[in-house]
Symmetry: C2
Subunit: 439 residues, 2 copies
C-alpha cells in the first residue's frame, strides 16, 4: 500500500495560506529571539525573563502533591476514591483550587472575591486568550494596551483578530490623557474599545508602577467610557508590600478582570494561572451567569480543564504557606531586589556621570526588567552582533510594539541570573555599547 | 476610596455583545448536559464518557515523576540543575517528551515520525484548536467533519470562525460518496475545504471503525481534492490489535495531521495530548519549517507550553511500560471490552427478538459508546424526564450535530461504570423506554 500511497505528491503548505497571525511581526519576533539565543548558547542572557532557578527543588513537587492530597482527604471526609478522582480524572472546567486561590488573594492582594468568579487556567496566557476571545464579538471591537507591552497580549489579540490600539506609556506607567484621546478617537471612528490591558506593577518591559491615584483615575475613565480593565499582575508580589493596592482591590463595580499567574510566584513548570471575572452577564438561558462562566465555556473548547495534577502542586504550595505567596517567596524577593540593585548600581558604575553620553536608564522599584536608552537604534542586527562579538543578549524594545520599528532602547532582564553572571553580563554590555557608540 | 468608586454603576455585560460561539447550540448543549447531571446526582450516568477510575492510584504520580527524573538524569549526564530546570522552569513550546511519544507511536501505532514534528499540547483539544487556528486563513475556508461528531470539534471550529460542513456517516464510518459530493459542492460555492476531521476508531458518538480500505480511499480523495485529514484517535488502543492501521501509518505524503490523547490511555488529570504535524510549510523567513512549528507559534500565545510536570507524569508511564500504552492498559482494555459486551448483551436481553418494536442498536467492536435507536425523538425534555423519573442519564444524539435537531437516537456510554451499575442503568433505561413507547 505504501507503494500506492506514495504516488501522491508530498503535501506542501504555504505560510500565506495559513492564519495571518503566523506572519505577524510578533510571531517572527519570538522566533528570531529564540533562534539568536540558541545560536549563541554561551552568551549571557540579559534577555530571558525567566524566574530564578536557584531555589528549585524537585522534592517540593512530591511534598506539595501530598499536602494537597491531605487537604482533600480532610475536606472529602476521607473518601479516597473521591480524592483520586479529583486529582487524576477529568475535572471541573473552572478548576479545583479556586477556593484556595481566593484565600491567597485575600491574604496577599487585598482582593475579596467569590471563588466561583475565578477560572483556573493554563498559565496567565490562557486567561488572557480566553478573555479576549470572549470580548471580541464584532469587527468594531478593539483592545487598548499600554505600549510598549508584553508580547503575549499582541499575540493573543491577533489570534482572535482583535486590533490593538496603543496607549502611550509615561514615567508614571500610563499617559491618561492619551488614553482618553485614543478612546475618543476610536469611538469617533465607529470602533468599540472593549478593554484596556495594563500591567500596573513593574510592567514588562518598562518596569513602571502605577501610583494609587493613577489606578483610581483608570477606574474612573473606564467607568465613564465603559470599557473593562484587564489587570495583569505577575510581578506585584516582588515589590514593596506598602506599595499601591491592586486595581482589582479598589474596584467595587466589577470593572476589572484580574489576570493572575503562578509562574513567577508558584512553580513555572505547573503552568497554572487564573482570571477573576466577576462581571454579571445577562441574556443567557438558565440562571444568572458571570464572565467567568463564559470564559469557562471557551476554555472547554481550548484546553477542557487545567491539569488537576498541576493545580494540586500549586495548591500544596499555598497550603504550606498559609496562602501567602509573599511569605513563600521571601528568598526570591530578596534575590530579585538584590539583582535589581546590582544592575542599577552596575549601570551607574559603568555609564554614570556622563561617562557615556546618550546612555541612560530607568529605575524600577521591582520586577524583572530595566530599560536602557542608548544613542543608537538597538535593532535585531545589533543584537546579533552583541551576541556574536560580545557574548551578551538583551531584547530590542521594538519587539514590544505592534509597529516593530527599531528604537534606541533595550530591555535588560536579570531575574534568572546569579550575581557573578550579572557582573560579567554588564561588562560585556558595556563593551558592546562603547564599541557601537565609537564606531 | 471604596466609597468614591462605588458611585460607578455595576458592570453588566450582555451575551449578545460577546463572541457568538457563546450563544451557539454546542455551548448551550454542554451547559445543559452538565446541569442535568448536577441536578440528578443519584442518576446512573450512561452519558459521561469518562475513563474508568477503578485502577487510579495517586502513588503512581509520584512513581512516574521519579521514573522520568531518573531518565532525565541519565540523559543529562547527572546534571541535577538541568533536570530541575527541565521539569520546573518554563520550557520548550513544542514540549519535552516528544522523543518518548515518538517511541510510543512506533511501538503501539506503527507510526514512524520525526520527534520534531510532534507538538505536545494541553490535551488533544488544544491540538485540535491549534490546528484549526492555523488552517483558518480566510472567510472561504471550511472544515469537513463526519457527523454526528465529537462536541469539541464543533466548539473549536466556532472559536476560529471556521464553518463546519457535515459529511454523512455510514455503518462503515464515513459515506465517501457524500464526502466527494460535499467537497465538490463547497468548491463550486467558492469555498476552500481545508481538512476533514475524522475519528476512524470507535468514533464518539457512533462507535464506528473505518476499514483499511476506507482509510486508503480517504487518503486518495484527500490527495486528489487537496485537503488535510485530521485523524483524532483517543480510543484506538482499546480495540483489537489486529484491527486496521492508523491512517497516519499509511500516509507517506504528509496528508494526515494526527491528533493524540493521553487522557484515556495515560492519566486524564495530566491533560497531555499531542499533534503530529510533519507537513512542510514554505514561505517563512529563516530555514525550513513544518506545520508543527506553526502550531507551536500559536501555542506560545495560548498556553505558552504544556506543564512539564504533567508531561513528566505521562513520560514516566511510558518509560515504565517500554513505551507501550497498549501494555500499560491491559486491565483497562479488559474492562472496556467487558463493559461493551455487557451493554450489548444487556440490550439484547431487554429489547431483543422484537420485544420492543422500533428499538435497535449498533454493535461497535470497541471504544466507549453504543448508539440506541428508539421509536421517539430522544430530546432534552425526555432526557430530563429520564433523569427525574427513572434516575438514568444518556445523551441525546442531536448534541453531536451542528443543526441541533432532535433525532430518535441516544448515545450510551459505559467506560466509567462498574458491572452492577451497568445492569441497574440498563434496567432503568428499559423502564424509561418502555414507558415512553407506551405513553
Amino acid at each position: 500500500m505504501n507503494g500506492e500511497a506514495s504516488r501522491y505528491p508530498l503535501v506542501q503548505l504555504c505560510l500565506a495560506d495559513l492564519h495571518d497571525s503566523l506572519s505577524a511581526p510578533v510571531s517572527e519576533s519570538m522566533n528570531f529571539l529564540n533562534e539568536v539565543a540558541q545560536r549563541f548558547p554561551d552568551a549571557i542572557s540579559l534577555a530571558a525573563g525567566r524566574p530564578y532557578e536557584g531555589y528549585f527543588d524537585l522534592d517540593y513537587i512530591h511534598r506539595y502533591l501530598d499536602a494537597y492530597r491531605a487537604h482533600l482527604m480532610a475536606r472529602l471526609d476521607g473518601d479516597e476514591a473521591a480524592v483520586r478522582r479529583m486529582i487524576m480524572q477529568y475535572g471541573r472546567t473552572k478548576g479545583i483550587i479556586h477556593d484556595l486561590v481566593a484565600k491567597h488573594l485575600a491574604v496577599d492582594e487585598g482582593i475579596t472575591v467569590d471563588p466561583e468568579s475565578i477560572v483556573i487556567t493554563v498559565g496567565c496566557q490562557e486567561a488572557l486568550y480566553l478573555t479576549l476571545r470572549v470580548l471580541r464579538a464584532s469587527d468594531r471591537d478593539v483592545l487598548l494596551a499600554v505600549t510598549p507591552s508584553y508580547v503575549g497580549i499582541h499575540g493573543a489579540a491577533q489570534l482572535v483578530d482583535l486590533p490593538l490600539l496603543p496607549v502611550k506609556e509615561s514615567p508614571e506607567g500610563i499617559d491618561l490623557d492619551d488614553l482618553v484621546a485614543v478612546v475618543a478617537g476610536a469611538k469617533a471612528d465607529g470602533l468599540r474599545p472593549r478593554a484596556l490591558y495594563v500591567v500596573p506593577d513593574f510592567a514588562n518591559p518598562t518596569g513602571a508602577r502605577l501610583s494609587r491615584e493613577s489606578r483610581e483615575q483608570l477606574l474612573r475613565i473606564a467607568a465613564e467610557e465603559d470599557f473593562l480593565i484587564l489587570e495583569d499582575n505577575p510581578y506585584g508580589l516582588f515589590g514593596d508590600p506598602a506599595g499601591p493596592p491592586t486595581i482589582k482591590s479598589l474596584d467595587v463595580s466589577a470593572r476589572v478582570v484580574y489576570l493572575g499567574s503562578f509562574a513567577k510566584t508558584g512553580i513555572p513548570g505547573a503552568r497554572v494561572g487564573y482570571a477573576i471575572a466577576d462581571q454579571v452577564v445577562t441574556g443567557g438561558s438558565g440562571g444568572s451567569q458571570t464572565l467567568a462562566d463564559q470564559l469557562a465555556k471557551i476554555k472547554s473548547m481550548v484546553t477542557v480543564n487545567t491539569s488537576p495534577i498541576a493545580q494540586a502542586v500549586v495548591a500544596g504550595k499555598l497550603l504550606e504557606n498559609d496562602y501567602s505567596l509573599r511569605a513563600a517567596n521571601a528568598r526570591e524577593i530578596d534575590t530579585y531586589q538584590g539583582n535589581l540593585r546590582q544592575v542599577l548600581d552596575g549601570l551607574e558604575k559603568r555609564f554614570g556621570g556622563g561617562s557615556c553620553p546618550g546612555v541612560s536608564w530607568n529605575t524600577p522599584a521591582g520586577g524583572f526588567f530595566v530599560l536602557v536608552t542608548v544613542p543608537f537604534l538597538a535593532d535585531d542586527e545589533l543584537l546579533e552582533r552583541s551576541a556574536r562579538d560580545h557574548h551578551v543578549l538583551w531584547t530590542p524594545i521594538h519587539h514590544f510594539y505592534a509597529d516593530s520599528e527599531p528604537r534606541n532602547v533595550m530591555r535588560l532582564s536579570f531575574s534568572h541570573l546569579r550575581p557573578e553572571e550579572i557582573e560579567v553580563g554588564l561588562d560585556r554590555l558595556e563593551g558592546f555599547i562603547r564599541e557601537t557608540v565609537g564606531s
